[in-house]
Protein backbone atom coordinates (compact mmCIF):
# COMPACT_ATOMS: atom_id res chain seq x y z
CA UNK A 1 0.00 0.00 0.00
CA UNK A 2 2.72 2.41 0.92
CA UNK A 3 4.68 1.50 -2.16
CA UNK A 4 1.68 2.09 -4.31
CA UNK A 5 1.16 5.54 -2.85
CA UNK A 6 4.75 6.59 -3.23
CA UNK A 7 5.18 5.45 -6.77
CA UNK A 8 3.43 8.36 -8.60
CA UNK A 9 5.80 10.76 -6.87
CA UNK A 10 8.78 8.70 -7.93
CA UNK A 11 7.54 8.49 -11.49
CA UNK A 12 7.23 12.23 -11.58
CA UNK A 13 10.69 12.81 -10.26
CA UNK A 14 12.12 10.41 -12.79
CA UNK A 15 10.28 12.17 -15.58
CA UNK A 16 11.42 15.50 -14.31
CA UNK A 17 14.98 14.23 -14.21
CA UNK A 18 14.59 13.01 -17.79
CA UNK A 19 13.58 16.51 -18.79
CA UNK A 20 16.39 18.03 -16.82
CA UNK A 21 19.21 16.03 -18.47
CA UNK A 22 19.13 17.82 -21.86
CA UNK A 23 19.18 21.20 -20.15
CA UNK A 24 22.13 20.15 -17.99
CA UNK A 25 23.97 19.18 -21.17
CA UNK A 26 22.99 22.33 -23.03
CA UNK A 27 23.22 24.74 -20.11
CA UNK A 28 26.92 25.69 -20.00
CA UNK A 29 27.27 26.19 -23.76
CA UNK A 30 23.98 28.03 -24.00
CA UNK A 31 24.96 30.31 -21.12
CA UNK A 32 28.23 31.12 -22.90
CA UNK A 33 26.39 32.03 -26.09
CA UNK A 34 23.78 34.10 -24.25
CA UNK A 35 26.34 36.10 -22.26
CA UNK A 36 28.91 36.62 -25.03
CA UNK A 37 26.71 36.63 -28.13
CA UNK A 38 23.09 37.62 -27.37
CA UNK A 39 23.75 40.14 -24.60
CA UNK A 40 26.44 42.00 -26.65
CA UNK A 41 24.02 42.24 -29.59
CA UNK A 42 21.29 43.68 -27.33
CA UNK A 43 23.85 46.06 -25.84
CA UNK A 44 24.84 47.08 -29.37
CA UNK A 45 21.23 48.01 -30.11
CA UNK A 46 21.29 50.23 -27.01
CA UNK A 47 24.60 51.82 -28.06
CA UNK A 48 23.28 52.54 -31.56
CA UNK A 49 20.61 54.83 -30.11
CA UNK A 50 23.08 56.96 -28.14
CA UNK A 51 24.46 60.37 -29.06
CA UNK A 52 27.60 62.22 -28.01
CA UNK A 53 31.27 62.22 -28.95
CA UNK A 54 34.37 60.29 -27.89
CA UNK A 55 35.59 63.06 -25.54
CA UNK A 56 32.46 63.68 -23.46
CA UNK A 57 31.01 60.19 -23.75
CA UNK A 58 27.71 58.93 -25.13
CA UNK A 59 24.19 59.18 -23.68
CA UNK A 60 21.10 57.20 -24.56
CA UNK A 61 18.67 59.48 -26.43
CA UNK A 62 16.59 57.26 -28.76
CA UNK A 63 18.69 58.70 -31.57
CA UNK A 64 17.13 56.99 -34.60
CA UNK A 65 18.70 59.73 -36.73
CA UNK A 66 22.00 57.82 -36.59
CA UNK A 67 20.42 55.08 -38.71
CA UNK A 68 19.19 57.57 -41.31
CA UNK A 69 22.59 59.27 -41.49
CA UNK A 70 24.40 55.93 -41.66
CA UNK A 71 22.35 54.81 -44.66
CA UNK A 72 22.71 58.21 -46.34
CA UNK A 73 26.49 58.25 -45.91
CA UNK A 74 27.35 54.64 -46.56
CA UNK A 75 24.72 53.14 -48.88
CA UNK A 76 27.44 52.82 -51.53
CA UNK A 77 29.57 50.56 -49.30
CA UNK A 78 26.49 48.54 -48.35
CA UNK A 79 25.53 47.88 -51.94
CA UNK A 80 29.14 47.12 -52.85
CA UNK A 81 29.51 44.63 -49.95
CA UNK A 82 26.35 42.81 -50.95
CA UNK A 83 27.36 42.76 -54.63
CA UNK A 84 30.88 41.46 -53.89
CA UNK A 85 29.64 38.90 -51.37
CA UNK A 86 26.91 37.62 -53.71
CA UNK A 87 29.35 37.27 -56.62
CA UNK A 88 31.86 35.47 -54.40
CA UNK A 89 29.13 33.12 -53.09
CA UNK A 90 28.11 32.11 -56.61
CA UNK A 91 31.77 31.52 -57.53
CA UNK A 92 32.28 29.44 -54.37
CA UNK A 93 29.26 27.32 -55.27
CA UNK A 94 30.58 26.76 -58.81
CA UNK A 95 34.06 25.84 -57.57
CA UNK A 96 32.94 23.95 -54.47
CA UNK A 97 30.00 21.84 -55.61
CA UNK A 98 31.91 19.48 -57.95
CA UNK A 99 34.60 19.09 -55.28
CA UNK A 100 32.07 18.23 -52.57
CA UNK A 101 30.27 15.89 -55.00
CA UNK A 102 33.51 14.12 -55.87
CA UNK A 103 34.46 13.77 -52.20
CA UNK A 104 31.02 12.48 -51.22
CA UNK A 105 30.34 10.03 -54.07
CA UNK A 106 33.45 9.20 -56.08
CA UNK A 107 36.38 9.25 -53.66
CA UNK A 108 37.48 6.27 -51.56
CA UNK A 109 37.26 6.81 -47.78
CA UNK A 110 40.97 7.66 -47.39
CA UNK A 111 40.86 10.06 -50.33
CA UNK A 112 37.69 11.63 -48.96
CA UNK A 113 39.30 12.34 -45.59
CA UNK A 114 42.39 13.68 -47.33
CA UNK A 115 40.33 16.09 -49.44
CA UNK A 116 38.46 17.37 -46.38
CA UNK A 117 41.74 17.78 -44.50
CA UNK A 118 43.23 19.73 -47.41
CA UNK A 119 40.20 22.01 -47.41
CA UNK A 120 40.75 22.87 -43.72
CA UNK A 121 44.55 22.90 -43.69
CA UNK A 122 45.09 26.36 -45.26
CA UNK A 123 43.35 27.90 -42.22
CA UNK A 124 46.44 27.11 -40.18
CA UNK A 125 48.47 29.43 -42.42
CA UNK A 126 46.18 32.30 -41.31
CA UNK A 127 43.92 34.05 -43.81
CA UNK A 128 45.81 37.32 -43.36
CA UNK A 129 49.09 35.74 -44.48
CA UNK A 130 47.41 33.95 -47.40
CA UNK A 131 45.85 37.24 -48.50
CA UNK A 132 49.27 38.92 -48.25
CA UNK A 133 50.52 36.06 -50.39
CA UNK A 134 47.87 36.83 -53.04
CA UNK A 135 49.09 40.43 -52.92
CA UNK A 136 52.53 39.12 -53.83
CA UNK A 137 51.19 36.84 -56.58
CA UNK A 138 49.06 39.56 -58.19
CA UNK A 139 51.39 42.51 -57.80
CA UNK A 140 52.16 44.77 -60.76
CA UNK A 141 55.66 43.49 -61.61
CA UNK A 142 54.78 39.88 -60.91
CA UNK A 143 54.72 36.85 -63.18
CA UNK A 144 50.93 36.59 -63.44
CA UNK A 145 50.40 40.20 -64.48
CA UNK A 146 53.22 39.89 -67.06
CA UNK A 147 51.61 36.76 -68.58
CA UNK A 148 48.16 38.36 -68.59
CA UNK A 149 49.66 41.31 -70.48
CA UNK A 150 51.40 38.97 -72.92
CA UNK A 151 48.19 37.25 -73.92
CA UNK A 152 46.26 40.50 -74.00
CA UNK A 153 43.95 39.84 -71.04
CA UNK A 154 45.34 43.03 -69.51
CA UNK A 155 46.44 46.26 -71.22
CA UNK A 156 50.05 47.39 -70.95
CA UNK A 157 49.34 49.38 -67.81
CA UNK A 158 46.53 47.08 -66.69
CA UNK A 159 46.78 45.70 -63.18
CA UNK A 160 45.19 43.02 -61.06
CA UNK A 161 46.03 44.22 -57.58
CA UNK A 162 43.90 47.06 -56.23
CA UNK A 163 40.96 46.17 -58.47
CA UNK A 164 37.44 44.89 -57.90
CA UNK A 165 38.43 41.58 -59.47
CA UNK A 166 41.21 41.08 -56.93
CA UNK A 167 38.92 41.79 -53.98
CA UNK A 168 36.18 39.44 -55.23
CA UNK A 169 38.74 36.72 -56.02
CA UNK A 170 40.21 37.17 -52.53
CA UNK A 171 36.81 36.84 -50.87
CA UNK A 172 36.01 33.76 -52.98
CA UNK A 173 39.33 32.26 -51.97
CA UNK A 174 38.91 32.98 -48.26
CA UNK A 175 35.37 31.64 -47.88
CA UNK A 176 35.53 28.61 -50.19
CA UNK A 177 35.98 26.10 -47.30
CA UNK A 178 32.82 27.44 -45.64
CA UNK A 179 30.90 26.53 -48.79
CA UNK A 180 32.52 23.13 -49.30
CA UNK A 181 32.02 21.67 -45.79
CA UNK A 182 28.20 22.03 -45.53
CA UNK A 183 27.83 20.94 -49.18
CA UNK A 184 29.80 17.80 -48.41
CA UNK A 185 27.78 17.02 -45.28
CA UNK A 186 24.44 17.24 -47.12
CA UNK A 187 25.66 15.30 -50.16
CA UNK A 188 27.15 12.54 -48.05
CA UNK A 189 23.80 12.02 -46.32
CA UNK A 190 22.01 11.29 -49.59
CA UNK A 191 20.96 7.68 -49.93
CA UNK A 192 22.56 6.55 -53.20
CA UNK A 193 19.83 3.98 -53.69
CA UNK A 194 17.42 6.82 -54.49
CA UNK A 195 19.58 7.86 -57.45
CA UNK A 196 19.87 4.23 -58.54
CA UNK A 197 16.10 3.89 -58.33
CA UNK A 198 15.72 6.94 -60.54
CA UNK A 199 18.11 5.57 -63.19
CA UNK A 200 16.48 2.14 -62.97
CA UNK A 201 13.22 3.87 -63.79
CA UNK A 202 14.83 5.20 -66.99
CA UNK A 203 15.84 8.65 -65.79
CA UNK A 204 18.93 9.88 -67.59
CA UNK A 205 21.97 10.78 -65.45
CA UNK A 206 21.15 14.47 -65.89
CA UNK A 207 17.51 13.94 -64.93
CA UNK A 208 18.45 11.91 -61.87
CA UNK A 209 20.82 14.67 -60.82
CA UNK A 210 18.27 17.42 -61.37
CA UNK A 211 15.30 15.69 -59.78
CA UNK A 212 16.92 13.60 -57.04
CA UNK A 213 20.44 14.68 -56.05
CA UNK A 214 20.00 18.43 -56.36
CA UNK A 215 16.76 18.71 -54.33
CA UNK A 216 18.31 16.55 -51.59
CA UNK A 217 21.43 18.72 -51.62
CA UNK A 218 19.42 21.95 -51.24
CA UNK A 219 19.86 22.21 -47.44
CA UNK A 220 23.63 22.05 -47.95
CA UNK A 221 23.52 24.62 -50.75
CA UNK A 222 21.46 26.87 -48.51
CA UNK A 223 23.71 26.44 -45.45
CA UNK A 224 26.88 26.81 -47.52
CA UNK A 225 25.58 29.96 -49.18
CA UNK A 226 24.73 31.47 -45.80
CA UNK A 227 28.09 30.56 -44.28
CA UNK A 228 29.82 32.15 -47.28
CA UNK A 229 27.63 35.13 -48.05
CA UNK A 230 27.10 36.42 -44.52
CA UNK A 231 30.73 36.54 -43.32
CA UNK A 232 31.74 37.83 -46.77
CA UNK A 233 29.34 40.77 -46.38
CA UNK A 234 31.20 41.87 -43.27
CA UNK A 235 34.71 41.07 -44.51
CA UNK A 236 37.28 43.83 -44.56
CA UNK A 237 40.66 42.09 -44.85
CA UNK A 238 40.40 41.47 -48.60
CA UNK A 239 39.29 45.01 -49.38
CA UNK A 240 42.06 46.37 -47.13
CA UNK A 241 44.86 44.23 -48.56
CA UNK A 242 43.81 43.63 -52.17
CA UNK A 243 41.77 46.76 -52.90
CA UNK A 244 41.86 50.52 -52.58
CA UNK A 245 39.43 52.85 -50.78
CA UNK A 246 37.38 52.65 -54.01
CA UNK A 247 36.67 48.99 -53.15
CA UNK A 248 36.10 49.57 -49.44
CA UNK A 249 33.29 47.51 -47.97
CA UNK A 250 30.96 48.08 -45.04
CA UNK A 251 33.24 45.99 -42.81
CA UNK A 252 36.04 48.50 -43.38
CA UNK A 253 33.72 51.34 -42.33
CA UNK A 254 32.49 49.56 -39.18
CA UNK A 255 36.02 48.62 -38.17
CA UNK A 256 37.44 52.12 -38.58
CA UNK A 257 34.39 53.78 -36.96
CA UNK A 258 34.78 51.50 -34.00
CA UNK A 259 38.52 51.19 -33.49
CA UNK A 260 39.92 54.46 -34.87
CA UNK A 261 37.20 57.16 -34.89
CA UNK A 262 35.51 55.67 -31.80
CA UNK A 263 32.11 56.68 -33.14
CA UNK A 264 30.41 53.75 -31.40
CA UNK A 265 26.76 54.63 -32.16
CA UNK A 266 27.36 54.85 -35.91
CA UNK A 267 29.37 51.61 -35.90
CA UNK A 268 26.55 49.90 -33.97
CA UNK A 269 23.87 51.31 -36.26
CA UNK A 270 25.82 50.14 -39.33
CA UNK A 271 26.07 46.66 -37.80
CA UNK A 272 22.31 46.48 -37.35
CA UNK A 273 21.56 47.78 -40.82
CA UNK A 274 23.92 45.11 -42.18
CA UNK A 275 22.18 42.40 -40.13
CA UNK A 276 18.76 43.59 -41.37
CA UNK A 277 19.92 43.53 -44.98
CA UNK A 278 21.27 40.02 -44.44
CA UNK A 279 18.11 38.72 -42.77
CA UNK A 280 15.95 40.05 -45.60
CA UNK A 281 18.32 38.55 -48.15
CA UNK A 282 18.32 35.18 -46.37
CA UNK A 283 14.52 35.13 -46.20
CA UNK A 284 14.24 35.92 -49.93
CA UNK A 285 16.84 33.29 -50.78
CA UNK A 286 15.00 30.70 -48.68
CA UNK A 287 11.80 31.54 -50.58
CA UNK A 288 13.64 31.23 -53.85
CA UNK A 289 14.92 27.76 -53.02
CA UNK A 290 11.40 27.02 -51.98
CA UNK A 291 11.46 24.79 -48.92
CA UNK A 292 9.79 26.04 -45.78
CA UNK A 293 11.74 23.78 -43.49
CA UNK A 294 15.02 24.60 -45.20
CA UNK A 295 16.36 26.54 -42.25
CA UNK A 296 15.56 23.69 -39.89
CA UNK A 297 17.12 21.05 -42.09
CA UNK A 298 20.13 23.27 -42.75
CA UNK A 299 21.09 23.67 -39.10
Amino acid sequence: MRRWRRSPGRELSLRRRRQLVPWLLIGPGLLWLVVFFAVPLANQLYVSLQTGDPETGYQFTWAFGTYVDAIKDYHEQFLRSIGYAATATVLCLIIGFPLAYYAAFKAKPFMRNLILLLVILPFFVSSVLRTVSWQLILFDDGWIVARFRDVGLLGDDGRLLATRTAVIAGITYNFLPFMILPLFVSLERIDRRLVEAATDLYASRAQAFRHVTLPLALPGIFAGSLLTFIPACGDFINAALLGTPKQSMIGNVIQSKFLFVQDYPTAAALSFILMTFILIGVALYGRLLGTKTLMESAV
Partner: protein, 271 residues
Protein backbone atom coordinates in the same frame (compact mmCIF):
# COMPACT_ATOMS: atom_id res chain seq x y z
CA UNK B 1 27.37 -0.91 -64.74
CA UNK B 2 30.10 1.60 -65.37
CA UNK B 3 30.00 3.04 -68.84
CA UNK B 4 32.66 5.03 -70.64
CA UNK B 5 30.67 8.23 -70.03
CA UNK B 6 30.67 7.47 -66.30
CA UNK B 7 34.41 7.07 -66.33
CA UNK B 8 34.95 10.36 -68.14
CA UNK B 9 32.59 12.07 -65.72
CA UNK B 10 34.60 10.69 -62.80
CA UNK B 11 37.87 11.90 -64.30
CA UNK B 12 36.48 15.36 -64.97
CA UNK B 13 35.19 15.65 -61.41
CA UNK B 14 38.54 14.46 -60.08
CA UNK B 15 40.40 16.98 -62.22
CA UNK B 16 38.10 19.79 -61.07
CA UNK B 17 38.66 18.74 -57.44
CA UNK B 18 42.42 18.79 -58.00
CA UNK B 19 42.28 22.25 -59.53
CA UNK B 20 40.09 23.62 -56.72
CA UNK B 21 42.51 22.23 -54.11
CA UNK B 22 45.40 23.75 -56.08
CA UNK B 23 43.61 27.11 -55.95
CA UNK B 24 43.37 26.74 -52.15
CA UNK B 25 47.06 25.89 -51.92
CA UNK B 26 48.71 28.31 -54.38
CA UNK B 27 49.24 31.01 -51.74
CA UNK B 28 50.41 28.37 -49.25
CA UNK B 29 53.06 27.15 -51.71
CA UNK B 30 54.17 30.72 -52.35
CA UNK B 31 54.47 31.31 -48.59
CA UNK B 32 56.51 28.12 -48.19
CA UNK B 33 58.75 29.00 -51.16
CA UNK B 34 59.48 32.49 -49.88
CA UNK B 35 60.57 31.09 -46.52
CA UNK B 36 63.69 29.97 -48.48
CA UNK B 37 64.17 33.32 -50.23
CA UNK B 38 67.50 35.05 -49.73
CA UNK B 39 65.84 38.47 -49.58
CA UNK B 40 67.79 41.72 -49.33
CA UNK B 41 66.36 44.49 -47.17
CA UNK B 42 62.98 44.45 -45.46
CA UNK B 43 60.79 43.24 -48.30
CA UNK B 44 60.30 39.61 -49.22
CA UNK B 45 58.58 40.24 -52.54
CA UNK B 46 60.84 39.03 -55.34
CA UNK B 47 62.83 35.82 -55.59
CA UNK B 48 66.53 36.44 -55.00
CA UNK B 49 68.03 33.03 -54.41
CA UNK B 50 67.78 30.00 -52.16
CA UNK B 51 68.83 30.11 -48.53
CA UNK B 52 68.15 28.15 -45.34
CA UNK B 53 69.10 31.03 -43.07
CA UNK B 54 65.52 31.93 -42.06
CA UNK B 55 64.91 28.37 -40.91
CA UNK B 56 67.90 28.41 -38.53
CA UNK B 57 66.32 30.59 -35.87
CA UNK B 58 62.68 31.38 -36.67
CA UNK B 59 62.04 32.48 -33.07
CA UNK B 60 64.73 35.19 -33.16
CA UNK B 61 62.18 38.02 -33.12
CA UNK B 62 60.75 37.91 -29.57
CA UNK B 63 57.54 39.72 -30.61
CA UNK B 64 56.86 37.18 -33.34
CA UNK B 65 57.68 34.25 -31.06
CA UNK B 66 55.29 35.61 -28.43
CA UNK B 67 52.55 36.16 -31.03
CA UNK B 68 52.89 32.56 -32.22
CA UNK B 69 52.88 31.25 -28.66
CA UNK B 70 49.75 33.29 -27.87
CA UNK B 71 47.98 32.01 -30.98
CA UNK B 72 48.70 28.37 -30.16
CA UNK B 73 47.77 28.75 -26.48
CA UNK B 74 44.54 30.56 -27.33
CA UNK B 75 43.65 27.95 -29.93
CA UNK B 76 44.38 25.12 -27.46
CA UNK B 77 42.40 26.55 -24.55
CA UNK B 78 39.44 27.79 -26.57
CA UNK B 79 39.22 24.57 -28.59
CA UNK B 80 39.17 22.51 -25.41
CA UNK B 81 36.36 24.58 -23.88
CA UNK B 82 34.38 24.82 -27.12
CA UNK B 83 34.64 21.08 -27.83
CA UNK B 84 33.43 20.11 -24.35
CA UNK B 85 30.54 22.59 -24.30
CA UNK B 86 29.64 22.01 -27.95
CA UNK B 87 29.68 18.20 -27.79
CA UNK B 88 27.30 18.19 -24.81
CA UNK B 89 25.00 20.60 -26.64
CA UNK B 90 25.01 18.42 -29.76
CA UNK B 91 24.24 15.33 -27.63
CA UNK B 92 21.24 17.03 -26.08
CA UNK B 93 19.99 18.46 -29.38
CA UNK B 94 20.08 15.12 -31.21
CA UNK B 95 19.30 12.65 -28.43
CA UNK B 96 16.53 14.33 -26.47
CA UNK B 97 13.28 15.91 -27.47
CA UNK B 98 12.39 18.74 -25.18
CA UNK B 99 10.50 21.98 -25.31
CA UNK B 100 12.63 24.70 -26.88
CA UNK B 101 14.83 22.35 -28.88
CA UNK B 102 14.26 23.87 -32.31
CA UNK B 103 14.64 27.38 -30.85
CA UNK B 104 17.96 26.35 -29.29
CA UNK B 105 18.99 24.80 -32.60
CA UNK B 106 18.35 28.06 -34.41
CA UNK B 107 20.03 30.10 -31.68
CA UNK B 108 23.20 28.00 -31.92
CA UNK B 109 23.27 28.59 -35.68
CA UNK B 110 22.95 32.39 -35.32
CA UNK B 111 26.61 33.18 -34.46
CA UNK B 112 27.59 31.46 -37.72
CA UNK B 113 25.11 33.68 -39.53
CA UNK B 114 26.48 36.90 -38.06
CA UNK B 115 29.33 38.76 -39.78
CA UNK B 116 32.52 38.57 -37.75
CA UNK B 117 32.89 42.32 -37.71
CA UNK B 118 29.52 42.56 -35.92
CA UNK B 119 30.45 39.78 -33.44
CA UNK B 120 33.79 41.42 -32.67
CA UNK B 121 32.45 44.95 -32.36
CA UNK B 122 29.50 44.06 -30.13
CA UNK B 123 31.64 41.95 -27.82
CA UNK B 124 34.13 44.80 -27.47
CA UNK B 125 31.27 47.22 -26.77
CA UNK B 126 30.14 44.93 -23.95
CA UNK B 127 33.65 44.72 -22.52
CA UNK B 128 33.95 48.51 -22.68
CA UNK B 129 30.60 48.98 -20.94
CA UNK B 130 31.57 46.51 -18.21
CA UNK B 131 35.03 48.11 -17.94
CA UNK B 132 36.73 44.75 -18.63
CA UNK B 133 40.35 45.14 -19.78
CA UNK B 134 40.76 43.34 -23.09
CA UNK B 135 43.65 40.91 -23.54
CA UNK B 136 44.45 37.20 -23.56
CA UNK B 137 41.35 36.16 -21.57
CA UNK B 138 38.91 38.17 -23.67
CA UNK B 139 40.36 36.66 -26.86
CA UNK B 140 39.74 33.17 -25.44
CA UNK B 141 36.18 34.14 -24.48
CA UNK B 142 35.55 35.45 -28.01
CA UNK B 143 37.07 32.42 -29.72
CA UNK B 144 35.03 29.96 -27.64
CA UNK B 145 31.91 31.96 -28.50
CA UNK B 146 32.36 31.72 -32.26
CA UNK B 147 33.78 28.17 -32.42
CA UNK B 148 31.09 26.47 -30.25
CA UNK B 149 28.59 26.60 -33.11
CA UNK B 150 31.02 24.92 -35.52
CA UNK B 151 31.56 22.13 -32.96
CA UNK B 152 27.82 21.66 -32.44
CA UNK B 153 27.11 21.48 -36.19
CA UNK B 154 29.98 19.03 -36.84
CA UNK B 155 29.24 16.69 -33.92
CA UNK B 156 25.50 16.77 -34.67
CA UNK B 157 26.15 15.59 -38.22
CA UNK B 158 28.07 12.61 -36.81
CA UNK B 159 25.44 11.82 -34.16
CA UNK B 160 22.60 11.89 -36.66
CA UNK B 161 24.28 9.18 -38.71
CA UNK B 162 24.70 6.94 -35.65
CA UNK B 163 22.65 3.91 -34.67
CA UNK B 164 20.62 4.83 -31.62
CA UNK B 165 19.86 1.18 -30.77
CA UNK B 166 23.33 0.41 -29.45
CA UNK B 167 22.89 2.97 -26.67
CA UNK B 168 19.42 1.67 -25.93
CA UNK B 169 20.78 -1.85 -25.72
CA UNK B 170 23.36 -0.70 -23.19
CA UNK B 171 20.70 0.97 -21.08
CA UNK B 172 18.43 -2.10 -21.33
CA UNK B 173 21.35 -4.10 -19.98
CA UNK B 174 21.40 -1.85 -16.93
CA UNK B 175 23.85 0.89 -17.85
CA UNK B 176 22.90 4.29 -16.49
CA UNK B 177 22.34 7.17 -18.88
CA UNK B 178 25.75 8.63 -18.04
CA UNK B 179 27.56 5.29 -18.41
CA UNK B 180 25.90 4.76 -21.80
CA UNK B 181 27.07 8.18 -22.96
CA UNK B 182 30.58 7.59 -21.63
CA UNK B 183 31.10 4.01 -22.81
CA UNK B 184 29.05 3.91 -26.01
CA UNK B 185 28.19 7.31 -27.42
CA UNK B 186 31.44 9.19 -26.86
CA UNK B 187 33.72 6.53 -28.38
CA UNK B 188 31.39 6.23 -31.36
CA UNK B 189 31.33 9.95 -32.07
CA UNK B 190 35.05 10.38 -31.34
CA UNK B 191 36.00 10.88 -35.03
CA UNK B 192 33.36 13.61 -35.29
CA UNK B 193 34.62 15.24 -32.10
CA UNK B 194 38.20 15.10 -33.43
CA UNK B 195 37.10 16.70 -36.70
CA UNK B 196 35.26 19.39 -34.74
CA UNK B 197 38.35 20.06 -32.62
CA UNK B 198 40.51 20.35 -35.73
CA UNK B 199 38.04 22.76 -37.31
CA UNK B 200 37.73 24.84 -34.12
CA UNK B 201 41.51 25.05 -33.72
CA UNK B 202 41.93 25.97 -37.39
CA UNK B 203 39.37 28.76 -37.22
CA UNK B 204 40.84 30.05 -33.96
CA UNK B 205 44.43 30.16 -35.30
CA UNK B 206 43.14 31.75 -38.51
CA UNK B 207 40.97 34.47 -37.01
CA UNK B 208 41.92 38.09 -37.46
CA UNK B 209 38.67 40.07 -37.40
CA UNK B 210 37.17 39.15 -34.02
CA UNK B 211 40.60 39.00 -32.39
CA UNK B 212 41.52 42.48 -33.62
CA UNK B 213 38.60 43.91 -31.67
CA UNK B 214 39.16 42.04 -28.41
CA UNK B 215 42.95 41.75 -28.20
CA UNK B 216 43.87 44.87 -26.22
CA UNK B 217 47.67 44.85 -25.93
CA UNK B 218 47.97 41.13 -26.71
CA UNK B 219 49.29 40.11 -30.14
CA UNK B 220 48.42 36.92 -31.97
CA UNK B 221 50.05 35.52 -35.12
CA UNK B 222 47.48 37.02 -37.57
CA UNK B 223 47.57 40.37 -35.74
CA UNK B 224 51.37 40.42 -35.98
CA UNK B 225 51.22 39.71 -39.73
CA UNK B 226 48.60 42.39 -40.38
CA UNK B 227 50.68 44.89 -38.41
CA UNK B 228 53.77 43.92 -40.41
CA UNK B 229 52.18 44.30 -43.88
CA UNK B 230 53.13 47.98 -44.06
CA UNK B 231 56.86 47.45 -43.43
CA UNK B 232 57.03 44.10 -45.21
CA UNK B 233 56.31 40.72 -43.63
CA UNK B 234 59.59 39.17 -42.34
CA UNK B 235 60.53 35.72 -43.76
CA UNK B 236 60.43 34.27 -40.23
CA UNK B 237 56.62 34.52 -40.52
CA UNK B 238 56.73 32.31 -43.62
CA UNK B 239 58.92 29.83 -41.76
CA UNK B 240 56.58 29.62 -38.76
CA UNK B 241 53.45 29.32 -40.92
CA UNK B 242 55.02 26.58 -43.05
CA UNK B 243 56.35 24.84 -39.95
CA UNK B 244 52.92 24.83 -38.29
CA UNK B 245 51.31 23.20 -41.33
CA UNK B 246 54.07 20.56 -41.40
CA UNK B 247 53.66 19.81 -37.69
CA UNK B 248 49.89 19.40 -38.09
CA UNK B 249 50.31 17.12 -41.10
CA UNK B 250 52.80 15.05 -39.13
CA UNK B 251 50.44 14.73 -36.14
CA UNK B 252 47.56 13.67 -38.39
CA UNK B 253 49.72 11.14 -40.22
CA UNK B 254 50.76 9.76 -36.83
CA UNK B 255 47.09 9.54 -35.85
CA UNK B 256 46.30 7.57 -39.01
CA UNK B 257 49.18 5.16 -38.33
CA UNK B 258 48.10 4.60 -34.71
CA UNK B 259 44.46 4.07 -35.75
CA UNK B 260 45.50 1.48 -38.33
CA UNK B 261 47.69 -0.34 -35.79
CA UNK B 262 44.81 -0.41 -33.30
CA UNK B 263 42.38 -1.64 -35.94
CA UNK B 264 44.83 -4.37 -37.00
CA UNK B 265 45.29 -5.43 -33.36
CA UNK B 266 41.52 -5.60 -32.85
CA UNK B 267 41.15 -7.72 -35.96
CA UNK B 268 43.92 -10.03 -34.77
CA UNK B 269 42.29 -10.37 -31.35
CA UNK B 270 39.05 -11.53 -32.87
CA UNK B 271 38.63 -15.31 -33.16
Amino acid sequence: MRTRADQIRGWLLGAWTGLALLYLFIPVFVIAAFSFNDNQGRFNFTWQGFTLKHWQDPFADPDLALAMKNSLLIAGISTLIAVVLGTFMALALVRYSFRGRSTTDLFVFLPLATPEVVLGASLLALFLTMAVTTGFATIVVAHVMFTISYVVVTVKARLEGMDRHIEEAAMDLGASEWTAIRKITLPMIAPGVLAAALLAAAISVDDYVITSFNAGQTTTFPLFIFGATRQGVPPAVNVLATGLVLVILLLLALNVVVQRRLAARDRAAMP
